[in-house]
Symmetry: C2
Subunit: 242 residues, 2 copies
DNA sequence: TATGATTTGTTATAGCCCGTAAGTTAAGTC
DNA sequence: GACTTAACTTACGGGCTATAACAAATCATA
């Protein structure tokens, strides 16, 4: 039979190897781009011979999934850390810190961010099956949305009436609210999501060089969006600290 | 010496082969995803033997570039065709038609659109060198921006004062205006670009499944953005025709 | 502590890919 | 008809994914 507990340090060593593989792969990503992240290259870099890596990740795909999960988690905790720089009494300030931390991380890790965003060409088949990556992605999204929700719940401000939304959006937001056990009204959710889409969309386009034709520095544009975000959500905008 | 004119039909046959290669590659993209687009697979599909394809495209990369250029051109002309469904007397209607045609094409060709958007992980080195793809991309962008410019020039409406923009944006828009020989004031350009970013960003996120966690159908959200676009640019919004 | 199971690694291999080289055939030119 | 060029072929070198078969080390315990 299978032994219940293989001694603890053996597990730890395994974890360490798993991590070394991922971090080696990450280095390769940064140095040689997505196509450089190959199981053989990772093995070579680590002084292992190719197939050894398959003891740790069943396939190239599994490795990629794991790496992207790492990225989401790292981005999430970076944002949370930045948020907690400021006490909860200043939700607006915290929100700004969070958003700026997101952009800063993306700018500091363009390869990683591009990969996270652009790799999911999954055809909806894979979309609903619950994966660690999905969970990590959802946690990431909730960082922003939860915070906006907190702001609103603490001091509600006017949002467009539910009946002013298109019926389809009404339905979708009702569903989303139910699915996430949200205590928020659907009309607020849609407003939050709109803000998210604008901000995150801008960032993705920036990182993927979709705006290079017009802009060389999108920081002020991002700040403009943050300003708009603040006014829309009844928060006081504050320019970034030096 | 090189013959001046190798008989015309020989050239035509070459063009035909070039096109067949690209369209075979496109089929493979749709059927097996980006990784399925391989020179060997294309050759196999065409009954050629591998290296023959290299007579037509020097490298896998060159083939990909050519395909993406095709996509941009197709999207562009689809948008223009939709626009010209309506006479120039109704610039607002034409703009709406253009935008909806863009989304429709993207939804109809998700593989193509994803590839166009997500493939350019080029590291700025390749960014400024003028390629056919770049040109095609710029033509695509200009479809939207030119039209907005036309609307504005025909009947200018208030836009935020230049001095209300951040100095950095002032500078960047001045540069952009000069670079494109635009006759438009920089503050208008920034407004146009903001509208573009919002609309195109939404579409990209939709196609790349970044919003699946909340929405199942983004058409009404897109329409909401179009509505906002219209009010912002002094146009009358009209819901999509059945 | 010695034995048998598990884990971790190794080489060998099949199959696909990119891209180059060298050789062959067919078409186009003078 | 001889010469040139274009299009295509097979042969290869070097990578990559992934599996199989095998060797060594590390348990877990009788």
């Amino acid at each position: 039979m299978a032994q219940q507990t293989s001694s603890s340090w053996v597990k730890r060593r395994r974890q360490a190897t798993l991590l070394e593989i991922r971090s080696t792969a990450r280095q390769l990503l940064r140095k040689h781009g997505p196509t450089g992240v190959t199981i053989n290259a990772v093995a070579r870099e680590m002084g292992m011979s190719g197939p050894a890596v398959y003891r740790y990740y069943v396939s190239h795909d599994a490795l990629v999934e794991a790496i992207i999960t790492d990225f989401y988690q790292e981005l999430t905790s970076t944002m949370l850390a930045a948020r907690d720089t400021c006490p909860p009494e200043h939700p607006g300030r915290r929100l700004l810190l969070t958003c700026r931390a997101m952009r800063a991380w993306a700018l500091d890790h363009p390869s990683e961010f591009s990969w996270m965003f652009a790799s999911p060409v999954m055809s909806a088949a894979k979309a609903d099956e619950e994966s660690p990556r999905q969970r990590a992605g959802q946690q990431f999204e909730s960082v922003f949305l939860d915070q906006l929700a907190a702001v609103w719940q603490q001091a509600p401000y006017p949002v467009p009436a539910f009946t002013d939304l298109s019926p389809s959006i009404q339905q979708q937001m009702t569903d989303y609210s139910a699915r996430t056990n949200s205590s928020l009204p659907p009309e607020a959710l849609h407003l939050f999501l709109s803000s998210w889409i604008k901000l995150y969309g801008l960032l993705c386009m920036e990182i993927l060089h979709q705006l290079d034709f017009a802009y060389t520095d999108l920081e002020p544009v991002f700040e403009e969006d943050l300003y708009e975000l603040c006014t829309m959500h009844n928060l006081t905008y504050e320019p970034p600290a030096e």
